[in-house]
């Protein structure tokens, strides 16, 4: 049966999409603007610039995967759609990094949660980083516009039980909770957002801005690794890139040179600082790679008396901000509470253990429920974030030390999550810590958490949100770009992704990226047309 989805149709109609693995000789191309990255930031930028009549080239290191490839299979998806085959971690291995690596970037594999940047965060940026122009009022139209573009609205079906248990626990304890807005259109409520939406309901970059850019004459290279930006005096002259083999991970011998008037880097909070560092772009105050934030996540799992089937249904539909800003924007660390989907490989990777004990844990997966806490890092002097640097081979890595300030928040979150799960009727709760047993009462869990050693590796930590590393600010001494994402030192370079956030967001970041990229691209289009 022929495919009639947006991507298949577009390719059929002659979109300029180049699989770099098929290139047989060195190659040079030129456009008004070269954009590195096709995720939330790169896609938005490409569509807006292309629609304004500028010629655009998009560069994506991952490959183009779409409906024909999205078969609801974890192992294939983790291997192909995620950075480092889902094995990416922080430098010391203590924090697992979930991050997309494909056309559409993380928007192709995220769980569709679509939050505006909280007012508290925007106001803090104004006060602390001189970004008054990003006030909630000023940003509102940009959020409105992107909510429409990506079909974002609060989920109107019933939450699955996995999510509803978070709601029930919060209700019992008097904690606030809310329904999550999702970027979907005609969602089948299957539960496979994290492995590539099989129905094209998810309105990530892959179904919206990428087709929008390609319809407007943009060119996209996929399987092409941006190696370095080449400077000529005080401007960038070209991007040097390497075509990857068709396995997506082996660098080939073909080099591609892309020339442009302007360059937009949107390669993620790890990739963008990596590219700027490799390129030795001027960085007089050594700010590139600094202030990297990740919303460090810890987790708790529960055994429920009723079947949860945590692998089915919209993965995230309920959240609680009860603890997110409770201590003010810059007091003790706040955290957002959400729920992760649990498929077999994901669960086997998240729940630590081996042997008969692990076999027993896994056998109870249909009754398993999980809550996660996302730490709002970067709002306190004891939360300065991590650092992106380069390995010997030039690839970027994130070093993220965990301060006592963060450990305290993580321990507090363990208490909160266990308490919520017991309040919702859990038979047993286990915290994702190497020393945690299954506890059958809130009192037992509480006593155990009191004694947990809060140390790297022992506490199981994750991140699905990478931010910062090329942060924006009014002063070049403490930032890389200005409030429009324009590089302080290099006039034809902009950064349009989550790496410009000067703190974490305090919510799943995709809408923050879309909105800022839309705002900054609209300005860039005007600049380049005059």
């Amino acid at each position: 049966m022929p495919f009639n989805d947006r991507i298949a149709q577009g390719l059929e109609s002659g979109w300029k999409v180049i699989d770099s693995a098929t290139l047989t000789e060195h190659h040079t191309a030129e456009a008004d603007v070269v954009i590195v990255g096709t995720g939330a930031g790169g896609g938005t930028t490409a569509e807006i610039l292309a629609k304004s009549g500028l010629s655009v080239i998009l560069v994506e290191e991952g490959r183009l995967y779409y409906q024909k490839d999205f078969k609801m299979d974890e192992l294939a998806s983790y291997a192909n759609l995620y950075q480092e085959g889902m094995s990416r971690t922080t430098k010391d291995g203590a924090i697992a990094i979930l991050q997309g690596r494909c056309v559409g970037g993380s928007t192709t594999v995220n769980w569709t949660s679509s939050f505006r940047t909280p007012d508290e965060t925007l106001n803090y940026w104004g006060k602390r980083f001189g970004l008054d122009a990003l006030s909630p009022d000023a940003m509102a139209p940009w959020f409105d516009g992107r909510e429409t573009r990506h079909s974002m609205s609060p989920w109107d079906m019933d939450p699955n039980l996995n999510n509803d248990i978070l709601r029930q626990g919060c209700e019992k304890l008097g904690f606030s909770w809310q329904i999550i807005p999702r970027n979907v259109n005609g969602c089948w409520n299957l539960g496979y957002c994290g492995v590539g939406c099989p129905t094209n309901a998810k309105q990530g970059a892959l179904m919206t801005t990428i087709p929008g850019a390609l319809d407007n004459n943009a060119t996209m290279y996929h399987g092409l690794r941006a190696e370095r930006l080449v400077m000529n005096q005080d401007r960038i002259e070209s991007l040097q890139a390497t075509a990857m083999a068709s396995d997506g991970i082996t660098p080939g011998k073909i080099m591609v040179t892309l020339k442009a008037r302007h360059f937009v880097v949107a390669a993620s909070a790890i990739g963008s600082p990596g590219l700027l560092l490799r390129s030795k772009v001027p960085d007089p105050y050594e700010r590139v790679g600094k202030r990297s934030f990740i919303h460090p996540v810890n987790a708790s799992v529960a055994q429920m008396p009723k079947l949860v089937d945590p692998f089915y249904g919209a993965p995230q539909s309920v959240y609680s901000d009860e603890f997110n800003f409770r201590n003010g924007v810059d007091g003790e660390i706040g955290y957002k509470l959400e729920v992760p989907p649990l498929h077999p490989a994901m669960s086997a990777g998240v729940v630590p253990g081996h042997g008969d004990e692990q076999a027993k844990n896994m056998a109870r997966l249909p009754w398993m429920q999980s809550v996660i806490a996302l730490m709002r890092d970067g709002f306190h002097e004891e939360s300065p974030g991590g650092t992106v640097s380069l390995r010997d081979d030039g690839s970027p890595m994130l070093d993220y030390p965990i301060s006592d300030y963060l450990w305290k928040g993580l321990r507090d979150a363990f208490y909160t999550m266990a308490e919520i799960q017991f309040a919702a009727g859990a038979d047993k709760v286990r915290l994702m810590h190497l020393d945690s047993d299954w506890y059958s009462s809130w009192a037992d869990a509480k006593a155990a958490i009191d004694g947990f050693a809060m140390a790297p590796h022992r506490v199981r930590l994750f991140t699905a949100h990478q931010m910062g590393g090329c942060v924006m600010g009014s002063k070049p001494e403490n930032s890389v770009v200005n409030g429009f994402g324009e590089h302080h030192q290099v006039s034809n370079l902009s950064v349009h992704d989550a790496s410009i956030f000067p703190t974490s967001i305090g919510a799943n970041p995709q809408l923050s990226v879309y909105a800022l990229a839309a705002r900054n691209s609209t300005r860039l289009a005007q600049r380049l047309q005059t």
Binding site: Q67, W188, Y192, F311, A348, P366, R391, R460
Partner: protein
């Protein structure tokens, strides 16, 4: 940090000082690099196993190993019964098949990890395969092919409960790679009560139809 130093009465060797290992932490890159080099010089298998004969390997003869060496394969053949426990079938040939196919998926998964993480895993596997470090750091005396499931389990427990973060990290790496490759595989979904993607959706979606 010192329990490994004081408790282990194992070999003392001037060239591979355990204190070095502890001081360098994960930066043990230097130390582990030494192991890789030594392993190479002493004739340990350091090249990917490639395509093994069906008899020799007990594997699918068509599978071509891209990362794991024959030593690594023996390591996982020793560890998987301890990591997977009662989830593995009891019947001998089914058990062999389950282990063999899990090892192949581990290899395929690691291929997609890319060079940086492959380098880290190479160091970990070399440390576990090289006799001196296997004995002193993993405290496993026999070669892996002679290690019982009880011994493998005891090793995993030691690394899990150790106060040395680097060893905890090794425990997580070994078990996570194995658990994901095993439980994530379609044939093993039933072990976690997962029925797979809803049948009605599979029926309705074009990507599941033969073109």
């Amino acid at each position: 940090m010192t329990d490994l130093l004081t408790q282990s009465e194992g070999l003392h060797c001037a060239s591979l000082d355990r204190r070095n290992f502890l001081r360098t932490g994960l930066g043990g890159a230097l130390f582990l690099g030494t192991v890789s080099l030594t392993a190479g010089l002493s004739g340990c298998a350091t090249a990917p196993a490639g395509r093994l004969g069906a008899v020799e390997s007990r594997m699918d003869a068509r599978y071509r190993f891209q990362f794991l060496t024959t030593d690594d394969i023996e390591l996982f053949e020793a560890l998987l019964p301890a990591i997977l426990g009662s989830a593995l079938p009891e019947q001998a040939s089914a058990r062999r098949m389950a282990i063999a196919s899990t090892v192949e998926r581990i290899d395929a998964g690691i291929h997609k990890f890319g060079p940086a993480n492959q380098k880290e895993l190479r160091q970990l596997f070399d440390l576990l395969n090289f006799g001196l470090t296997r004995a002193t750091i993993a405290r496993v005396w026999p070669a892996w092919r002679n290690v019982t499931t009880e011994q493998a389990d005891a090793f995993l427990q030691r690394w899990r409960t150790s106060r040395i973060g680097l060893l905890n990290n090794g425990y997580i790496a070994l078990t996570k790679i194995s658990n994901v490759a095993f439980y994530g595989h379609q044939e093993n979904w039933q072990l976690s009560g997962y029925p797979g993607p809803p049948e009605w959706a599979v029926q309705a979606l074009p990507q599941f139809r033969n073109i």
